[in-house]
């Protein structure tokens, strides 16, 4: 008897949690497949989308995708379709053939966010980018040949040296993810070295030494950097990490160098602002604006409403978005007031009405070029 009552109580709890959202019926339902279920970025994108719901007459539901299990991702998409989604935005280039087949069968449209769909772009372009159910994707920053991230790293190092003439960075080493997973990171390294060579030629008295890239220690296999890195690169002033700093910083802390050595890294992780700029090791961080999700969102809404931009390209595209690049205390101060850290929709680049105006069904004058232009103007300087 006790067990039966416990079962009833659990079911009641589940109903209490689920039913209110089930009854919040709106015209359109969009499913979002994120790659994690927590963190400031998650909270920010959810806050941004929540604010759009009344204006767009939309409901957003969420799920978490797997970084390595294609079958699970397919199941998650199927569950979103089962939940009644009219459109789905995913953050993984995974099982695209089968996922798009599901979307075709269900009459649902698919977009991409925080992913450049590089594997599909190179190996399955027709199957994905020519697919009627795929509307396009916005990358996590730049994609394709757009990316000149290496130059950004270089600029940040130079800016740092100008601000800190007594303690400039003269000797650096680099880290990156493996090429098979992130092929563009090797080009970032080449870009950085290219710029350093030019700089050294013009400024021999301020030359910057870059340690040769060592495959054994400098490639991070999606886990924390090994402390042997410092043995391989003795005497460095800074690490330029073209991959996420979260794989580098903890090792710097445990090696006791986080107070002296500097870190120029991609990505932003919760709490990094406390050790940024004058407060700590981090001197550069980059994050994509959460508002970039408007690109696939608007295209989905257009499709669902049966309209298209007059200048819509025939094939789906993958677009770069501008990034929030912080390399000073002032930049960080601005970033701290952005929706990314406040999770307050009022701090977003775009209001709900502005997003609605980007759509073709609400604004007959809206264009694809206009939508793409919005993506270009989400930098740190554009923050109010």
């Amino acid at each position: 008897m006790k067990k039966i009552i416990s079962l009833i109580l659990v079911l009641a709890m589940v109903f209490a949690v689920a039913v209110p959202s089930a009854f919040a019926a709106r015209h359109t339902k969009i499913g979002i497949g994120l790659y994690s279920d927590s963190g400031a970025g998650n909270d920010a994108v959810k806050a941004f989308l929540k604010n759009l719901e009344p204006t767009l007459d939309c409901e957003f539901v969420y799920t978490v995708l797997s970084t390595n299990d294609e079958a699970l991702n397919l199941t998650k998409v199927q569950e979103l379709i089962a939940a009644g989604c009219d459109g789905i935005i995913i953050t993984m280039d995974s099982s695209m053939d089968s996922i798009l087949a599901e979307c075709r069968d269900a009459g649902v449209y698919l977009g991409g966010y925080l992913c450049d769909f590089d594997s599909s772009f190179r190996n399955n372009y027709d199957g994905v980018f020519k697919n009627e159910n795929f509307v396009g994707a916005v990358a996590d920053g730049g994609c394709g040949d757009d990316i000149k991230r290496g130059y950004d790293f270089f600029d940040s190092v130079i800016e740092y040296n100008e601000r800190n003439p007594e303690t400039p960075v003269r000797h650096v080493a680099m880290t990156a993810f493996p090429a098979f997973a992130f092929p563009y990171q090797q080009s970032f390294i080449a870009q950085f070295n290219e710029k350093v060579e030019e700089y050294n030629a013009a400024n021999p008295d301020k030359a910057i030494e870059v340690d040769p890239f060592n495959d054994d220690t400098d490639i991070l296999m999606f886990r924390a950097m090994d402390s042997t890195y410092f043995n391989k690169h003795p005497g460095i002033d800074a690490i330029v990490s073209v991959c996420s700093g979260s794989f580098v910083y903890p090792t710097m802390v445990s090696a006791g160098v986080s107070n002296t050595m500097k870190l120029f890294a991609a990505g932003y992780n919760d709490g990094d602002n406390a050790v940024f700029g004058s407060k700590g090791a981090y001197q550069m961080e980059i994050i994509s604006p959460v508002e970039a999700i408007v690109y696939p969102l608007v295209l989905l809404l257009n499709k669902i409403n049966g309209v298209a931009f007059p200048d819509q390209p025939a094939d789906a595209e993958r677009k770069s978005s501008s990034v929030l690049l912080m390399n000073s205390d002032e930049d960080m101060a601005k970033f701290e007031k952005s929706i990314y850290l406040t999770a307050n929709a009022a701090d977003a680049f775009l209001s709900a009405e502005e997003v609605l105006n980007l759509t073709a069904y609400a604004n007959p004058n809206a264009t694809y070029a206009g939508l793409c232009d919005v993506l270009e103007h989400m930098t740190i300087d554009d923050l109010k």
């Binding site: 089930a22 279920d37 397919l74 089968s98 594997s119 098979f180």
Partner: protein
């Protein structure tokens, strides 16, 4: 209450009433309760034009779990588990893609499957035999295989230079309903074969006896080595078939394909009422009951709109509840 009727030999012949039947099978019946609740919730929250779509999604998601769980029952009934299960699936899917793409056509798929089947049966034999010969707990051998296959999966993907590889040809029927029917047939055939083998052949009876009491089994003429090997090979067969079904579903594979499946299968079996220590109370039905309960649980929570942050918590509560409902208390033993 049961009526006791004395036979001529002085043995009581119990004619059991309906209430007595319920009482005697309360633990078995509650093992189905979880599935029943999930089915009811599924029907409630999936009514509408997408019902058939949703049903076919559930069948697709449950298919691989069902097939793997059917094989795992033989191992779990001996009180063992195989932690290399997921990694084997990953490697086998990758192998089938590589062989399928290299040879091409139907032949490529067939050769790929046969190669994977042979490898799976071999790994089953190793898993079953090595632990006995070396006197190790079986989990140690399967851990070794897990690490081996993790490394193999990684190296194979590195060699391709890609994050994900895909099968060049489509092996799944274009029509969704046809595909669902194909999966149902595969599950049904394997369930019938599994049910026959588990309930009516030596393999099933001996694996349960080994799980119940290894010493008694041995002293009753059961060769531990032989039947342990056969049990693991039965699982190997199901892993091969399950990998093929997964390939038909996704058409792709990567470094992490199959990760976590060993735990998923254990959860499926627990939800299906399988006693983790194995023994005579093991039931082949726990495979299908558990696989579908597990799949429906995830599906229903999403379709009900349970917030993302709550899903894992709710899953944990429901899992705990079903375990409490299906755990078997040993009956009171009369003192002599």
């Amino acid at each position: 209450m049961a009526e006791n009727v004395k036979t001529a030999a002085g043995k009581t012949d119990e004619r059991v009433s309906f209430a007595g039947f319920i009482k005697n099978h309360i633990f078995d019946l509650t093992a189905y309760a979880g599935l029943a609740v999930m089915v009811i919730l599924f029907l409630i929250f999936n009514s509408g034009p997408r019902f058939m779509y949703n049903l076919s999604s559930v069948i697709q998601a449950a298919a691989v779990y069902s097939i793997l769980a059917l094989g795992a029952v033989f191992i779990y009934s001996m009180g063992f588990m195989d932690v290399s299960l997921g990694q084997q699936v990953g490697v086998y899917v990758i192998l089938m893609i590589l062989i399928g793409n290299a040879i091409g056509g139907v032949l490529g798929i067939v050769v790929g499957f046969i190669a994977v089947l042979a490898l799976a049966l071999l790994c089953g034999a190793i898993n079953g035999a090595v632990s006995i010969f070396l006197g190790l707990p079986s989990i140690v051998t399967s851990l070794f295989l897990m690490f081996f296959f993790t490394g193999a999966q990684y190296l194979m993907m590195e060699a391709t230079g890609e994050n994900t590889i895909r099968l060049a040809q489509t092996i799944r029927p274009a029509d969704r309903n046809t595909y669902s029917l194909m999966l149902v047939i595969i599950i049904a055939v394997l369930a019938i074969i599994g049910g026959y083998v588990f309930n009516y052949t030596k393999l099933g009876k001996y694996t349960r006896a080994i799980g119940a009491n290894k010493t008694t089994a041995q002293q009753s003429g059961i060769s531990l080595v032989k039947w342990q090997v056969f049990g693991y090979m039965a699982l190997g067969f199901c892993i091969a078939v399950g990998s093929f079904v997964m390939l038909t579903r996704t058409g792709t594979a990567g470094k992490g394909t199959g990760t976590g499946y060993a735990m998923d299968i254990m959860i499926c079996l627990i939800l299906g009422g399988m006693p983790l220590k194995g023994g005579m109370k093991s039931k082949i039905s726990s495979a299908l009951v558990g696989a579908f309960t597990y799949t429906l649980l995830s599906n229903v929570l999403t379709t009900m709109g349970v917030p993302l942050n709550w899903i894992n918590f709710v899953k944990a509560c429901i899992f705990l509840l079903i375990v409490l409902l299906t755990c078997r208390k040993s009956k009171g033993i009369l003192p002599r």
